[in-house]
């Protein structure tokens, strides 16, 4: 069991280092297995250093930096054990425009390289623009939801509350 866990750890860590640099455009990050002498309490630690900053406790990361670091880790797990489906519910809410673009670049690449299907819930126009298709959820009748396929030029209209 241990060697298997360690093998998976090495895979996830390799992907995490690479994805962190892609999403931050630089910097360094890695994973650490701590307390391995007792596998039942062992833990997975995370060190992250955005570009130009010093290595610090990850709790000091900003809201947006935390989201990007977390996305790098989610995708690292994902690349290690591909899943047929990935669902992301407003993961871009804390990101500024430049980071939304980097996030969307990565999504497009993941969609090309894997067979995975992605469902991405978002309010962000930059993320919407990169989707291959859009579904709108409407409440034409208040309190009652319906799903409709939406053309890209209609998307702007969809964002608005009734």
């Amino acid at each position: 069991a241990r060697t298997r866990l360690e093998a998976v750890f090495e895979d996830v860590d390799r992907h995490f280092r690479h994805l962190f640099q892609r999403l931050f455009g630089g910097g360094k990050a890695h994973l650490r297995l701590v307390g391995m002498d007792d596998p039942l309490t062992a833990g997975l630690e995370l060190d992250a250093m955005p570009p130009g900053k010093k290595l610090q406790n990850i709790r000091l990361l900003s809201g947006g930096e935390k989201s990007l670091t977390a996305l790098a880790l989610v995708f690292a797990f994902f690349l290690t054990q591909p899943s047929p489906l990935c669902v992301l519910d407003e993961v871009d809410a804390a990101l500024d425009d430049a980071n939304v673009e980097r996030f969307a670049d990565l999504l497009e690449e993941m969609a090309k390289e894997t067979q995975t299907r992605f469902l991405v819930v978002t309010h962000h126009p930059l993320t919407m623009a990169r989707m291959h298709r859009l579904f709108g959820v409407t409440m034409a009748e208040r309190g009652v939801s319906k799903l409709v396929s939406v053309a890209f030029d209609e998307a702007e209209r969809f964002k608005e509350s009734a």
Binding site: F9, V12, I58, Q81, L85, R130, H132, T138, M139
Partner: protein, 172 residues
Amino acid sequence: MEFIRLRVSGFKSFCDATELEIGPGLTGIVGPNGCGKSNVVEALRWVMGESSAKGLRGGEMDDVIFGGSGLRAPYDLAEVALGLKRPPVTGDDAAIAVLPKSEDLEISRRIGRGTGSLYRLNGREVRARDIQLLFADAGAGSKSPAIVGQGQVGFIVEAKPEERRRLLEEAA
């Protein structure tokens, strides 16, 4: 395994039957606040075997049944069906006896108020356990790190080291 479509009826704010096609690549889900986007994500997790009502923002599992609106009375039944495509059956796959030979699968979960949930696989009744196993083998369970709920993205960074290890074990 490929996810093809999700049909929702009577689940949360989706009282009338409605369908989401899950195509290859990137499908965006958009709409104003409170229109039902996160309810779609929860419908997906529910049909895949989610067993915690709290994990679906409810107090008890009956809270997922359409509770009525300003104009409509509450419903007593909710059903979510998931259309999948599977690669042709090989030797060891057959070990999961419940899997039919065909490549098209339809998994559905139905709940009646006060009467509990019922799962079906291509029309035949199966246990929750069988469904959870089916998805876990494909690396896509309702608790998989590949499903990130609203407000949850920072969770992995804020979690304790032991909780993160559990994600590693799931991937192992």
